[in-house]
């Protein structure tokens, strides 16, 4: 708000009053500098724990518990030990299968649901959407016992399929919501034109809706992958070894060996590395998709 006022003043300033205009310009520049500084500050605070974790992973255990210092000789010792204790690749593969699998499944269910809600709404559509979102407000632990019992009875404990199902259900409300908003932004008339041209509902979705909302669908998918990848509560409670993803891998180092900071850091670094690189590669797509409707 204040920024616009300043700009307004400097624009309005008559030529004779150049001094005042220049000072307004200076004030604006100062403010911009301040905001930049603040932005960097916040970014550094957010990034610092990750940075510290990566650094600690390259220390020896002794250095890791000693006074915090950035001066040390980097070593891969912890990484070697971590790899000896648990097969990183097995956990990573589970993470990949479960997060991408659940995302695919969620999209398969959400695309038709969001289509129906966006283009064939009924009186209860808004209510349904809100109800779906409200399930996200429930603490997961509240349904732990029923889910656990169901999983036990259906033989889904410690299976990738089981975890995929839970993640799908977990992300489905968000995925439907996001797709719904992206679909809603598409002019109805384009689909109607398709219908006039003889498109069946499936052809309408396949030839028109999906290609036109691809940026939105992609960012929804990316978000779903990231949320599944980082999920820890269900993976810790429903898996033990066979289907355990990377979150369980980190946890396996933290409980018995909570004091071995270097090894824990090394394991954590390895666990977050894939998703960090994935997020970095796709960040353009993410931002574009997430601001898809907002900046038209």
């Amino acid at each position: 708000m204040t920024t616009t006022t300043t700009t307004g003043d400097s624009v309005k300033a008559p030529v004779a009053d150049a001094g005042r205009g220049a000072s307004a310009l200076r004030a604006q520049r100062r403010r911009k500098f301040g905001i930049t500084l603040l932005g960097w500050g916040v970014a550094l605070i957010i990034f610092f724990p990750i940075f510290w974790m990566i650094v600690t992973g390259f220390k020896t255990e002794a250095e890791a518990i000693a006074d915090p210092s950035l001066i040390f000789t980097p070593t891969l010792e912890s990484y070697v030990e971590v790899q000896e204790r648990a097969d990183y690749l097995k956990f990573a593969w589970n993470s990949v299968v479960v997060s991408f699998g659940s995302t695919l499944l969620a999209l398969l269910i959400a695309v038709p649901s969001a289509y129906a809600m966006a283009f064939l709404p009924t009186k209860r559509t808004k209510g349904t959407l809100l109800w779906m979102l409200s399930t996200k407000m429930l603490p997961s632990v509240g349904v732990l016992v029923p889910i656990y019992l169901l999983f036990r009875d259906f033989g889904l404990l410690d299976t990738r399929i089981g975890l995929t199902i839970v993640y799908t259900l977990m992300n489905l409300p968000i995925v439907v919501w996001m797709l719904y908003t992206f679909f809603k932004d598409l002019p109805r008339e384009i689909l109607e034109a398709g219908r006039m041209d003889g498109a069946s509902t499936f052809q309408e979705v396949w030839y028109l809706l999906l290609p036109l909302t691809l940026p939105g669908i992609a960012s929804t998918g990316l978000l779903s992958v990231i949320l599944s990848w980082n999920e820890a509560f269900w993976s810790l409670n429903l898996t033990t070894s066979q289907a355990a993803p990377l979150t369980a891998y980190i946890a396996s180092f933290s409980s018995p060996e909570g004091l071995f900071w270097a090894k824990l850091s090394a394991a954590s670094t390895m666990a977050i590395a894939p998703i960090l690189i994935f997020g970095w590669l796709t960040q353009k797509q993410m931002v574009r998709g997430l601001t898809f409707g907002a900046v038209k």
Partner: protein
């Protein structure tokens, strides 16, 4: 060959009736325009014909077949949308050929048909472009081209020119009229612009509040409006209305007292008119004439000079009347003017705004665009 019949067509959303029993006959190769103020149901009616909206009651019949339960594509119609609704991710060629692709027409045949349509609309150089890279007028032509490619029995247009600027609109209007001649197709066109309706239609359907107010040729609507609404809606500037009192009425006409005390005998059926009955006198601005002996007197409050013509706005009993007069009049604001009109040009509206029927039918009242053409070929 394509005819359309609407038989007591109704559209309701719950208890709200948007279309309240519309009857209509559209003949083969006719250019029919639905016109009315926004919210009158004209677009809904078009969408019902297209099959994009369901029909609550009544029958929609195309070429003798009831199509109520058929999907939009099965009705064999094509529609041009107000926003053009081009597929943004496809080239012009793919946009135009999409319906053929869905119908599994071979690529070669598809290309040929698209090229044929592109030729009619001069779109050949643009076939590889995406809609984003086209101007408004070009997009409009692509949307029409997409309709032509389908070779529909009836073309439907939903306010297709309202997103174009004024000059382009006139040009597209002419182009559409030319296209109608060339394709010899039945066309139904929705607009809120009465000039588009007057210039393009063989038959105008005036709608208000989901009800057909009048159906007729442009000249019929202009010269013989059925009621006050149609009289005010058709014609630009709007018709003037004056509150008058009937002095006497018989088979030769109705004598009314106009503001200022004079009486005028208007040649309309007056058998039913009682003495002292309140009526409304309607006269179009172009039919009011400056006349020093005229029965009406008022002072000029606004002058708009268009060059060839000048609009004088005068205040009379609190109503603003418009006179379209010669461009060279020298009047100024505040001048007292006297004016009159030919009684034969005036309209009288009785109860509920219904017009009293004219004794004589205007010679051009049944003229259609086809007649215009016949006349011009005869002259040549």
């Amino acid at each position: 060959m394509a005819t359309l019949t609407l038989n007591q067509v109704v559209k309701s959303f719950g208890d709200t009736h948007v279309i309240k029993g519309v009857d209509l006959e559209v003949k083969d190769q006719e250019f029919v325009v639905f016109v009315g103020p926004s919210g009158c149901g004209k677009s809904t009616l078009l969408r019902m014909i297209a099959g994009l909206e369901s029909t609550s009651d009544g029958d929609i019949v195309i070429d003798g077949q009831r199509v109520n339960d058929l999907g939009p594509a099965e009705r064999g119609l094509a529609m041009v949308f107000q926003s053009y609704a081009l597929y943004p991710h496809m080239t012009v060629e793919d946009n135009m050929g999409f319906s053929l692709k869905l119908a599994e027409v071979s690529q070669q045949e598809r290309r040929q048909k698209v090229l044929d349509a592109a030729k009619i609309l001069q779109l050949e150089p643009l076939l590889e472009r995406k809609p984003k890279a086209l101007s408004g007028g070009q997009r409009q032509r692509v949307a029409i081209g997409r309709a032509i490619v389908r070779n529909p029995s009836i073309f439907l247009f939903d306010e297709p020119l309202s997103n174009l600027d004024a000059a382009l609109r006139v040009q597209m209007r002419i182009e559409l009229a030319r296209l109608h001649e060339e394709l010899k197709a039945t066309m139904i066109y929705v607009t809120h612009d009465q000039i588009e309706a007057m210039t393009m239609a063989d038959k105008i359907v005036v709608l208000q509040g989901g009800v057909v107010e009048q159906v007729g040729s442009p000249m019929e609507l202009y010269h013989h409006p059925r009621n006050r609404f149609v009289a005010g809606f058709i014609g630009s500037p709007k018709m003037n209305f004056l509150k008058v009192e009937a002095v006497a009425g018989d088979a030769q006409g109705v004598e009314v007292r106009v503001p200022g005390g004079d009486t005028v005998k208007v040649p309309v059926e007056g058998d039913e008119v009682a003495q002292g009955q309140a009526l409304e006198l309607g006269i179009r601005p172009e039919h009011l004439m400056l006349d020093d002996q005229g029965p009406l007197k008022a002072s000029v409050s606004v002058i708009e000079r268009l060059g060839g013509q000048t609009s004088l706005y005068v205040e009379m009993d609190g109503d603003l009347l418009t006179l379209m007069v010669d461009g060279d009049v020298t009047h100024r604001v505040g001048d007292e003017i006297r004016f009159g009109f030919e009684p034969g040009r005036a309209h009288l509206f009785g109860e509920q705004g219904l017009a009293l029927a004219s004794l004589e039918r205007h010679p051009l009242a049944s003229l259609t665009r086809q007649d215009n053409r016949a006349a011009s070929t005869a002259e040549a």
